[in-house]
Amino acid sequence: MSIFKDAGHLFRFAALFVIAFLVFLVVRHYVVPKSFGKYGHYRAAAMDEIAAHPMQFAGHQACEQCHSDVAATHASGMHAHVNCEACHGPLAKHADDPSSVTPKLPDTATLCVRCHEASAARPKNFPQVKSAEHSGGMPCQTCHNPHSPAIGSGAAAGGAK
């Protein structure tokens, strides 16, 4: 039995390991989030937290509920597939409570050319103009209704009220 006696200090060292391991298990039990591992190696609650972020863009369905007149013009024109907030910006707050935020009218001088300024890089079949030659500095909505831009397709001047 003297082997055990003379190796006693080794058991003490081993006991340190066992104690540390037990403490680790106890701490681990309390520290690991409850939803961890529910679907996989992650905290399942994180999905709900991310899903709960507020939206900034309301989506065109929300706009169309109130602005049915514009929606009708828009739906029949060349810009039918351009959603409202693509030009008007994020308006979820306005959709939630229309009086809280008054949308600003977009500045057509910068807005229209983003898509329609002629560039060799754009697809050839996409309508493009050299804005300086095309309008001579006049605002685009003088001739085009942004909601239905083909000339003569809708009330032209000042159509985007």
Partner: protein, 397 residues
């Protein structure tokens, strides 16, 4: 954006792994290398290196204590790092760090040092006073059994621990290489040779560090340097370095010969942004010069005076330390300088006094020397004083 040539994906312009991530494999490498030197004596019975055995173990411990600190400084949320222990992700090489580190620290290094020093610890716990006495008392774990039989058991167990320690040291550092080598997104890293190259360069750097420490500390203590010991260390350093250099060149030649889609990008980088740190520092000054010098010493050992050999060893050791640091730099920083689109390059701007800046890096490089100083005070490794330790416990210098 300044510092960008060609096209980088916009999120690639800033580097997310800084100089601290260069430091981390460098320091773990020194740990692994120092341990391998210790195992030379213990397992492979290379008696000549005995004077460095304990110093090597203490050096390994000092650097191992420092190793996780660069990571902690780098992490965005260091307070969350215990998650690595609580919910380690089985598919992540990095998640294993915590466990490999703890295993290596506690089950290998601390245990082996404890076994090796137990006799002195027990004696000191009886002969010192005050706080020191308390420290040594705790270190005995309450067992004062230093009978011949007990020490014999320690010797046997210590041998087994060293034997386990060798693959553990390889694992500790090989896995660091795997962290880089397993990233398929990055052709500069993605290579199965990466862990092997990391292990061999680690061995060279660790051996060089212990050799320099041994020479420096012996000088400071006004003792004579055991030339048989440093000659042997230098020999091993030379052979390991030859293997290391061969592997690195194999990797390089393979890349050049295969010349895959990433080659133009990497080739350009090595000729420009990495030219100084890779070609000049790592390969020319840091590898070819010490290899040539060590080769000369191996061949004409008897014709070179002791003084000259010592100077050559100090020079080679220092160059090797620089070279291996440069190698880590070229891997970590180099791997982030080119775009994964292979269309452009960015620049690493090292900060100075920030959390991940130059000053933090220098501090974290010097810190292990502080740890080592404490360890040397607490557990003097010197053979000459070791024999006196029983009688003169107070002369701990």
């Amino acid at each position: 954006m300044s510092g960008v040539e060609g096209y980088m994906y916009p999120n690639e312009v800033t580097l997310f792994w800084s100089v601290l991530i260069v430091l981390y494999p460098y320091i773990t490498g020194l740990v692994a290398g120092a341990f391998i030197l210790a195992s030379l004596e213990r397992v492979f019975k290379v008696d000549a290196v005995k004077p460095t055995y304990r110093l090597a173990l203490l050096t390994a411990l000092a650097f191992l204590l420092d190793a996780p600190l660069p990571l902690q400084f780098h992490l965005g949320h260091p307070e969350r790092s215990p998650e690595m222990y609580f919910t380690p992700h089985a598919t992540s090489a990095m998640a294993m760090f915590g466990y490999v580190y703890l295993w290596y620290l506690m089950a290998v290094l601390v245990f082996e040092i404890w076994l090796d020093y137990r006799r002195e610890i027990v004696l000191r716990s009886q002969q010192t006073k005050g706080l020191l006495r308390l420290i040594y008392k705790i270190m005995t774990l309450g067992s004062t059994n230093i009978s011949e039989r007990a020490l014999h058991i320690d010797e046997k167990v210590g041998w087994v621990v060293t034997l386990i320690g060798i693959p553990s040291a390889f694992m500790l550092h090989g896995y660091v290489g795997f962290i880089f080598g397993s990233i398929k997104a990055n052709p500069w890293w993605s290579s199965p040779l990466m862990p092997v190259v990391f292990i061999f360069s680690a061995m060279v750097s660790g051996v060089a560090a212990v050799m320099l420490l041994y020479m420096g500390l012996t000088k400071l203590r006004k003792q004579t340097i055991d030339m048989r010991c440093v000659d042997t260390i230098a020999m091993y350093m030379f052979y390991i370095f030859v293997i290391d250099f061969t592997l690195e060149m194999l990797d390089l030649v393979h890349r050049i010969y295969e010349a895959d889609e990433s080659f133009r990008s990497i080739d350009f980088m090595v000729h420009t942004k990495l030219f100084f740190s890779q070609i000049v520092v790592q390969i020319l000054i840091g590898t070819l010069v010490p290899l040539a010098l060590l080769f000369i010493v191996q061949v004409w050992k008897n014709n070179i005076s002791e003084i000259a050999r010592k100077r050559i060893y100090v020079l080679c050791g220092s160059l090797i330390l620089i070279s291996v640091f440069a190698m880590r730099w070229n891997v970590v920083i180099g791997g982030q300088l080119f775009s994964k689109s292979f269309l452009g390059y960015t620049t690493y701007k090292m900060e100075l006094a920030t959390r991940e800046g130059l000053l933090a890096a220098i501090g974290l490089t010097l810190l292990p020397l502080g740890f080592l100083w404490i360890l040397l005070k607490l557990l003097p490794p010197w053979n000459d004083s070791q024999s006196h330790a029983a009688q003169l416990p107070a002369s701990g210098d």
